[in-house]
């Protein structure tokens, strides 16, 4: 499986100023009986977005402007909870290509990178500025590993902030390639390891 290459992304942000947003909020467990990965965007944050009749409520995620946002800004410790890859699948199908927070849970982080969805952990001051300034236009430059906040907005923190991304994952994202081919090319090394296991009788 491959995904669209990720180089630079400029978009308005959608801000969810909530800490510890867990995978049960991103996509509730009752929707995990699906056997496909398509069409999960309408279920993203389902229990926040719909009323009892199943109609969209006035949650910020339901506005037309929100649905055009490709960058999600979320409170500390985003994506905690389960290993469900349905979470990044749902966020991507909704239209997001990246999430920015001050901490992102491990498994969600790993799952995201494998789907061309960029999880960015940014320093606290920039994160706070982003949380306080929804709908600003922000640029993510993956080649330079930088988030550029608008300088024209008058914000004193407007500027450029570096972020870290695993060099291997970065290369995969820029090329729009998944990791499976790389693993399969290691067949000889895997065979050597397997042979050493057999020798000790495992």
């Amino acid at each position: 499986m491959s995904f669209p290459p990720f180089t630079t992304l400029t978009s308005q942000t959608l801000v969810l100023h909530i800490e510890n947003i867990d995978t049960d909020q991103i996509i509730p467990a009752r929707f995990l009986t699906t056997t496909s990965r398509e069409g999960l965007g309408k279920l993203a944050f389902n229990d926040w977005r719909y009323d009892e009749a199943g109609d969209e409520n006035d949650h910020p995620l339901n506005g037309d402007a929100a649905k055009a946002c490709q960058i999600l800004v979320a409170g500390h410790n985003f994506g905690c909870g389960s290993s469900r890859e349905h979470a990044p699948w749902a966020l991507m199908d909704y239209g997001f290509r990246a999430v920015i927070s001050s901490e992102i849970a491990d498994i969600f982080h790993a799952n995201s990178l494998k789907n061309g969805f960029l999880p960015i952990v940014i320093e606290k001051s920039a994160h706070e500025w982003l949380l306080d300034h929804p709908s600003e236009e922000v640029t993510i430059d993956l080649e330079a590993c930088e988030v550029r906040l608008p300088t024209s907005s008058g914000a004193k923190n407007g500027g450029t902030y570096p972020f870290k991304v695993d060099p291997f994952s970065r290369q995969c994202l820029i090329q729009g390639q998944d990791e499976l081919d790389y693993l399969l090319r290691q067949d000889a090394a895997i065979k050597t390891h397997e042979a050493s296991l057999n020798k000790v009788g495992q």
Partner: protein, 468 residues
Amino acid sequence: MTQSLFDKAQSLFDKVWERHVVSAETREQPATLFIDLHLIHEVTTPQAFTVLKERGLKVRRPDLTLATIDHSTPTLVNEDGSRPYVSAQAEKQVELLLANTKEHGITTHGWDSPYRGIVHVMGPELGATQPGMTIVCGDSHTATHGAFGALAFGIGTTQVGHVLASQCILMRKPKSMCVYVDGELSEGVSAKDVILAIIAKAGVGGGTGHVIEYRGECFESMNMSERMTVCNMSIEAGARAGMIAPDATTVAYFKDKPMAPVDFEAAAADWLSLASDADCSYDKEVRLNAADIKPMVTYGTHPGMAMPIDGLVPEDDAQALAYMNMQAGAAIAGTEVDTVFIGSCTNSRIEDFRIAANIVKGKSVADSVTAVFVPGSEQVKIEAEAEGLHEIFLAAGAQWREPGCSMCIGMNGDIGKPDDLIVSTSNRNFEGRQGPGVRTVLASPATAAASAITGVITDARTIARSTS
């Protein structure tokens, strides 16, 4: 294995990691890590098998892959023997797992197996889980298997596909964290209370990026069931995995297991060599005293929002307290309960039901409470029924169901009604986890059983036990 004088002192995690490196980590690329056991279930595998099919790949090591059905499976049986699936889609997902594993020659503990169960209960019972292994599963509570000194962690569906195709994953070595709990627990304090106290102290993100090793007298004196409860909730502290060094208790656990190694003595000697070297170091340390830990319950909407059961609800996130309908400054004991759930990969083993039976025996579940007891596996069910525990539960008015994940995640339709308060022995109290609008209070089996009897959140130490 000989160790040169120049080798750095290694932790349990270092040793297990090192044994499984196929190609080393560099600045440019993560390590390729060989996986000894790949556990699979119906929820996180369909899309991975689809990728194999699309790319014309086969399962590299079906012999190191083990399947069961647990999440979307009904825990009730109709009178005619059919199973009341929550939806056609849930049934299709289960059928697809059975078809995929059949096609690829993967051993599967399906409906007719006496070992079917929650994947993290089943693996150890079979002896498939063993010390020193690398174990993965598309399920964050794979950390459970770390109780045996395995490096075990949850992966997403893309990586499930990687492991099916290559028996390896790409990963950078996480940092290490040691949680020491010194001393002995007080009477009536359980492993569940210990891990809730640890998460409350370390925070739900406290272990992010780390593998935890649990050390100290408190864990050394625990049986394997209790150690599994602790390691299970490592993920609730943000850690990918939690581990406890193999010792005599670990070795004894495997003596009668179907998949135990043939050369048991040699394997046991190897397992015992995995313990952390005396002077090894960790990137982060947390220390608690066992004597300070009380029975714990959660009051909020993540597992770090936990408190002693005899305490007052603290000032905390207003939205979380509003969702839970909890008032800061009020006692949590005495809060009305609608449902009690004993089950899940955290607390559904035979030892958990023995504790519950000891409290419930000769008493009745409160009229206002629905008590749902779900064994973690067919083996737990068989053993509990052989001991007559189910008769104690049924006589008290509790439900005794078929094994599965059930109300922990509610994927099979076992959920509460909006506003219901569920005292649950499971692992997550996120909003809506047990059904839209449902309020979850995480607790030990003892607290859950005591609360079922009284109809309010109850400290089990205050309940008189049957002496007969």
